[in-house]
């Protein structure tokens, strides 16, 4: 009977955590679908729509995401100290959010969004329900993958100053990543991909440069990216 009682309790607790997981998955699915909409809006940037217009449309989803992450946090807090038990169920979605926020932030400011800024935008509180550092870093790698495409399409549309700015940004970002000792194979693989993004942007910059299309032939020490 003691045995039976213990296992009854186990079943109960596992059912509880199972239903918790179901609720987490349901929210994660909504996050996923919201990021798809956001991504869809941002894609118009490749068709040379004006940045403010594109951003405005994408930003309408931020509140939705904030709301969803607040739900997620509440669910996860029901089971204190078990953040990482369920982490696998929403981390892909969180990485995608980082990637989109990072891209929008860069479009607006020319800077890298930092870890705490993402937490802030999502209304997260690191001490209770924060954003995992590796997820942040992976999301930034995903953002980097979008940049070559952006540069190519901007040049096609006649914006010849874009390669220089992106190149500066990506060079800095790449150098920053090199400070990390990566172990995690997935993150390392993503970081390897960033090298190719950097190369591609350099090539475009070169194409523009040799044709005398770049507005300012001297990329050295230029800090004017933020000025845009």
């Amino acid at each position: 009977a003691a045995v039976e009682k213990q296992f009854d309790e186990f079943r109960h607790r596992l059912e509880e955590s199972g239903s918790l997981r179901d609720r987490i998955r349901a929210v994660a699915t909504e996050i996923e679908s919201t990021t798809r909409i956001m991504h869809s809006s941002l894609l118009l940037i490749h068709q040379s729509r004006p940045i403010p217009e594109v951003l405005e449309k994408a930003k309408t989803q931020i509140d939705v995401l904030k709301q969803l992450f607040s739900q997620l946090g509440e669910i996860v807090r029901e089971s204190p100290g078990q953040y990482y038990r369920y982490h696998g169920d929403w981390r892909t979605e969180a990485q995608q959010v980082v990637s989109l926020f990072g891209f929008m932030h860069w479009l607006e400011t020319g800077d890298l969004i930092i870890h705490t800024e993402v937490e802030e935008k999502l209304g997260l509180n690191a001490s209770e329900f924060g954003l995992d550092v590796e997820d942040y870093l992976i999301g930034i790698c995903f953002m980097s993958n979008e940049l070559p495409r952006y540069v190519v399409n901007q040049v096609t549309a006649g914006d010849y100053d874009c390669p220089r700015k992106v190149l500066k940004f990506l060079t800095d970002l790449h150098a920053s990543f090199r400070l990390l000792n990566l172990r995690n194979d997935f993150l390392r693989k993503k970081f390897d991909g960033m090298k190719y993004d950097l190369r591609r942007v350099e090539e475009v910059y070169y194409d523009v440069k040799i044709r005398g299309l770049a507005s300012n032939g001297d990329p050295k020490g230029d800090q004017t990216i933020q000025e845009t």
């Binding site: 199972g18 550092v133 990390l180 990329p219 050295k220």
Partner: protein, 252 residues
């Protein structure tokens, strides 16, 4: 000669600051993971030794053998689990679970085996966890074995109990074997309802299959003793009714 590429090999200082924080975090975290893996390996190897010690029991040396096993088991706890507790102090136990789970499972296997042999009962998760409490610093949240690792350890326990049962039959302790059989059947039956609800149930599915094999091995052994024993009375016609095949009147 001019060069086209940027010379900015050093990132802007704010970005660099953020990234040195990330770097420090990753370095410390990976080092901790390594220490946890090592503690887990030590727990595994020493728990295995306890299990072997238990398999040394026979009809006449139960007390001494089990006494030593229990002593060794508490050494595992005090020396190696204590190290683990120390490392995990203050971190989310789930984040490094994959690094220490194998050791904990083996410890559960050893502890529940000892308990069954001494008391004939299942050592509860709450009981194990109560024993771990003193290892933790009272100020922080104590390390507690989670349900999943407890159940995974329990699943392996049935393999050890199968070995024990075959050995007990050889030693003439048929009733002991039957007791194991009932116990293992009960665990198996309880787990059928619990297994599909585990976080990663595919692992557990394999373990359930192995467990059923173990149950059936014990059942087949009991069957075999039973049908063979049936021949005794008609052929010898002894009046000594307690003369069963491998009677074990001295068990318990």
């Amino acid at each position: 000669p001019r060069s086209i590429t940027t010379e900015a090999v050093t990132p802007s200082s704010s970005m660099k600051d953020s990234f040195s924080k990330y770097a420090e975090y990753l370095n410390q975290f990976n080092d901790k993971r390594e220490r946890v893996v090592k503690a887990s390996r030590d727990i595994t190897i020493n728990s295995k030794k306890v299990i072997f010690q238990v398999h040394r029991i026979s009809k006449n040396n139960k007390d001494e053998v089990l006494e030593k096993a229990e002593k060794d088991l508490s050494t595992v706890k005090d020396q190696h689990i204590a190290r683990l507790v120390n490392e995990l102090q203050g971190t989310d136990f789930w984040k490094l679970r994959r690094a220490y789970s194998p050791g904990i499972q083996e410890y559960v296997e050893a502890a529940t085996l000892c308990k069954f042999c001494t008391a004939g009962t299942l050592l509860n998760l709450d009981e194990i966890n109560a024993m771990l409490l003193p290892l933790s610093d009272p100020s922080s949240e104590p390390l507690q074995i989670n349900i999943l690792d407890y159940i995974l350890g329990l699943a392996d326990l049935t393999g050890e109990l199968m070995r024990l049962a075959i050995g007990r039959i050889s030693d003439g302790e048929l009733e002991y074997a039957e007791k194991i059989c009932r116990f293992v059947r009960e665990i198996y039956r309880e787990l059928t309802l619990v297994a599909p609800k585990m976080d990663d149930s595919s692992d557990m599915k394999t373990k359930m299959d192995v467990m059923l094999q173990s149950v059936m091995k014990i059942e087949n052994a009991c069957f075999s003793v039973h049908v063979r024993g049936s021949e005794y009375i008609p052929l010898i016609g002894s009046d000594d009714a307690s003369y069963t095949l491998l009677g074990v009147p001295d068990f318990e």
